[in-house]
Symmetry: D2
Subunit: 354 residues, 4 copies
Amino acid sequence: MSNSFGRIFKLTSFGESHGKAIGGVIDGMPANISLDFDAIQNALDKRRPGQSKLTTQRNEADIVQFLSGIFEGKTTGTPIGFLIENTNERSSDYTHIKNTYRPSHADFTYDKKYGIRDYRGGGRASARTTASIVVAGALAQQIIPNINFTAYVNAVGDIKLDKDYQQVDFNQIDQNPVRCPDAETAKLFINKIEETQKKGDSIGGQITCVIQNVPIGLGEPVFDKLQARLAYAMLNIPAVKGFEYGSGFKGSAMSGSKHNDIFNANGSTQSNNSGGVQGGISNGMDIYFTLAFKPTATILQKQQSIDNQGNIIKLEGKGRHDACVVPRAVPIVEALAAMVMADFVLLQKTNKIL
Amino acid sequence: MSNSFGRIFKLTSFGESHGKAIGGVIDGMPANISLDFDAIQNALDKRRPGQSKLTTQRNEADIVQFLSGIFEGKTTGTPIGFLIENTNERSSDYTHIKNTYRPSHADFTYDKKYGIRDYRGGGRASARTTASIVVAGALAQQIIPNINFTAYVNAVGDIKLDKDYQQVDFNQIDQNPVRCPDAETAKLFINKIEETQKKGDSIGGQITCVIQNVPIGLGEPVFDKLQARLAYAMLNIPAVKGFEYGSGFKGSAMSGSKHNDIFNANGSTQSNNSGGVQGGISNGMDIYFTLAFKPTATILQKQQSIDNQGNIIKLEGKGRHDACVVPRAVPIVEALAAMVMADFVLLQKTNKIL
Amino acid sequence: MSNSFGRIFKLTSFGESHGKAIGGVIDGMPANISLDFDAIQNALDKRRPGQSKLTTQRNEADIVQFLSGIFEGKTTGTPIGFLIENTNERSSDYTHIKNTYRPSHADFTYDKKYGIRDYRGGGRASARTTASIVVAGALAQQIIPNINFTAYVNAVGDIKLDKDYQQVDFNQIDQNPVRCPDAETAKLFINKIEETQKKGDSIGGQITCVIQNVPIGLGEPVFDKLQARLAYAMLNIPAVKGFEYGSGFKGSAMSGSKHNDIFNANGSTQSNNSGGVQGGISNGMDIYFTLAFKPTATILQKQQSIDNQGNIIKLEGKGRHDACVVPRAVPIVEALAAMVMADFVLLQKTNKIL
Amino acid sequence: MSNSFGRIFKLTSFGESHGKAIGGVIDGMPANISLDFDAIQNALDKRRPGQSKLTTQRNEADIVQFLSGIFEGKTTGTPIGFLIENTNERSSDYTHIKNTYRPSHADFTYDKKYGIRDYRGGGRASARTTASIVVAGALAQQIIPNINFTAYVNAVGDIKLDKDYQQVDFNQIDQNPVRCPDAETAKLFINKIEETQKKGDSIGGQITCVIQNVPIGLGEPVFDKLQARLAYAMLNIPAVKGFEYGSGFKGSAMSGSKHNDIFNANGSTQSNNSGGVQGGISNGMDIYFTLAFKPTATILQKQQSIDNQGNIIKLEGKGRHDACVVPRAVPIVEALAAMVMADFVLLQKTNKIL
């Protein structure tokens, strides 16, 4: 029951890193939408491994197959089943961890929770499962084509993009492998990642996401406030350690007289510390939020760990891994944001009877 | 459908600031628990207004009345209906805002979303509704008496408590009106708030919450990870702008070789950057997280705003308000944390058949 | 989690027969509806005890108090909390059953399930809790004023009304205490109940419900088909043992060539064996269904039973009971039908994007 | 959101009659269960077409492929994705109905609801989708191996098996193609179906299901009573028109003194009019219920109908169809019953804390 997300537009996801396939079922997709399949595949391509020398060399084609819910290119209002085959799994890469728990991975907790563990590539805990989110997000986006979702990397390690989202050019984001909208900073990010890679280490980072052209009135207090659903969605992304929206943590140091967003006559506001949300409901201004990602747990250095008998052992990462996963998380963030917003748009239709 | 929280242990909440009563229904409370009613009222007393000169002078007794689900002091397994009467509402304080939208309040968004607005005291958007959360949290805590929840204020404005939770004495928290576990810092917090009060301004802050003695195995991937449910819960608290757990935003600047938590032979870890959660599942270490609160929107200064006809007006806050709500939010944070954890404990019973 | 019903329009109910109050929270009520409070109270009055000498003499006024979600007579889109005080409870009537299990009551099963039992008047298992359903149903009806709900008694014991719903005059239903639309049959029903009453016995019966002026397209395959939600709702009414819609059990004896409903050019059908539903979706024809009610378990005759130690005992019903509950169940059936249909009307808004 | 069933053990289903595949995701399957794959395939084989000359000649192998959630033959606690390819679809059989609405089918309602319709073989409304239910039910059964589920055909048209379930030999059920536990009656059923077949007509029938060895205490009042969940599940089966449990419709004609089930000292009852459920909770006695099935809408006779422009037309059924679907529905009834009961068993674990 915890592998579904959404109330009207709902993804139910399945699959492990090294099973036959990953996939899901999308329920609540409105009928009669002509799908743009290229847009879906493009989103998947942004997430998939092997895009550049900065990312894991596991080279999955990640072709999505739709099994139902679509007829002659249009949605039928019935559930959309889909799958992505795992074509390039190399389970043998993982036999060495069969009985061991890697530090800061989910090996220990899965084993203790379920009493059984699919150790191949992290099993269900693998970030590979986020491909299903990207598919669902690309469909969600097509329900609400007028709302724009833009995510980008704004920090790698301790190097931070020193500009607000209003000061950068979103068109630059896809011009570099680190998905940074500022070319100079992108170079610093790349250097940082390459350096890290050489050491066999990993590094964290941050992503900012901006949602624009949002209708006023989305969000469902008191327990499904817009920001709460966003945080809920985002904290399910592997490696995310923090979420802030609008003024965020900085806002906690401010006084009300500075923080309050003064209205213009048309209802827009002069500042946007609220981050586009007041009382849990969108006010029509841009929604923006930032996520903290921890460094990947897998490193290609020798570390102490334990096996499932409690023996102290030495482990060394093998397999194919990203030194910095943050750039590849950009389409996942956009996808979840689109899922959240599409759900709110559909729910909002039920708030009035006319 | 968005006024319920929880999957097995579930609160459905109702009520506005100036209606007859606020309250809720708690479903999924296990049967046969002898309730400690003093503990429930104590939690409410920690949240209620009028506790010190630092907080709003609206003086609600906040006495909870239980209407069902309890027989001879024990839970019966049936839903627990409860209410708290609004005894001290002064609606007339609010007639001046009937047709106006206060900056950074929910007035504008509620009006636009629903086409109607109960303007008295913020209506449903009032933080008064969190009293129902505190009741539910106090019951949740009694399902899991061995798990400890401790929240405290760790920043007021730009003044930050410069110690980790391991370095402070939790017994100090209730020794000062700002709920800071460090007496020296508490004084600075109090000064800051008093200063702010004098200016008719407001100020933000931060709360840290620590959950201790957590069983291994709680949390439900992939869409109900432990940290995701915590973030979901917390971002529904009015004024919360950010959530981070474990290493949080700082962790995003770290390398994997520093960030990884090395296991001890018994499965505990030497560091705890994971914040007690790996792969969305508790690992038995302390869970800790920090929340950013924006400054209260109501200030006793003249501000520009608009009315519902789009005319520019001048507004000046009236009514009874806190210059800093953060200390009063401490029991709310503990309550939601307990609700989340009790729910996971109950859900975990269904993960295996033996 | 099992005390809520509905997906968009949702009632969460609480309360026992002899607690302080029963009530509930209605979430998902659309905003800006001017409520007709008399209609709500009228529905409650139809259900309440003490209406005639045929029904229980427990004389509850059953006045509903609304606590939230309504401002100046209109719904605000926020949850509607309500309660009905238990003013006439006589718990002492029940001390004799404290340690005993009455035959065909819920005493035994509640005690075994929860390990504790509020024995006063059946506790949560009492039909008194259906008053909350009647309130929610009366509100649901006001969301969909154009859809008509009419239920009536069509059998008492082995006496059956020998006419289809098209052959009777719905205006007659409230002209007699047994809610039968046929005056002659009503007399037979009354005689049957009086006879039963004299023997200290009880008797079952049937209710037919007709839903008219239904929009085409309501119902959500494949697991929330219209008939499935109706059956789900109705089988939760205490004493209901069976549900059939359209041709029902008789239809199982028919051939397809007789059973099929032939279309008219406008999409209506010549016969209506489908009962207004095809493939789980309303087709615009009348929806009609019939419910079987078992005889009340409480009888004023001596019966063998057991106590909670497994001793065989003799029990004799006391308290105030209906010899036939079926007439009082009519408003409950209408209420649940309205709840189901209002929910489908709201859900249907999400099926298309235009 | 309406293609999922269950609260803890939950099936989310997808697929149409003539899409690439049907399938689903099972969430909430407990971990560490060694699966009996033969039992799953056997259940599917009981449902699949082409089993005898009495059933449709569409000859699907109906081989289920599991894609996730199983590791080395055991469940891992993660979601189980599965699919069944549609290997034998002959869409061309259906081009003649592309623009027409077949009487008593879902063609008209789907088209009106969604504004689009996959006309091939009934699309999502096809009973083919019930294969996913059979898979989920076979897994559910393995969670609760001690509870026995037995369904059989007890009527075909107006021929009824004149024995209670206690009087027949369940071992006979699979000895004849009509799944009747009485050899003599089975012959009558077969004759009836063959006669019907010759006329190109169809015929309805009834199924009785018995659930034995049920633990006391399952069921969740007041809106998820055991009988309500069963009725909810069963009324989602295509063609089901009625549900009754225990004494059912006959019980509505009885007096309480006859209907009440008198306790034995050990808590069992002398009669079982309650059908194993009191107050919505299992009492340990056998649960039994009967379902009415209407005759299949597709007949091989000429019928009047309309096209989607409102023109009156003549239609004649083509394709491969059962004259009586009731025998093939037996494994579907058992599957849904197992899903309902497994869910209650898992939920019941959360009702107490010890």
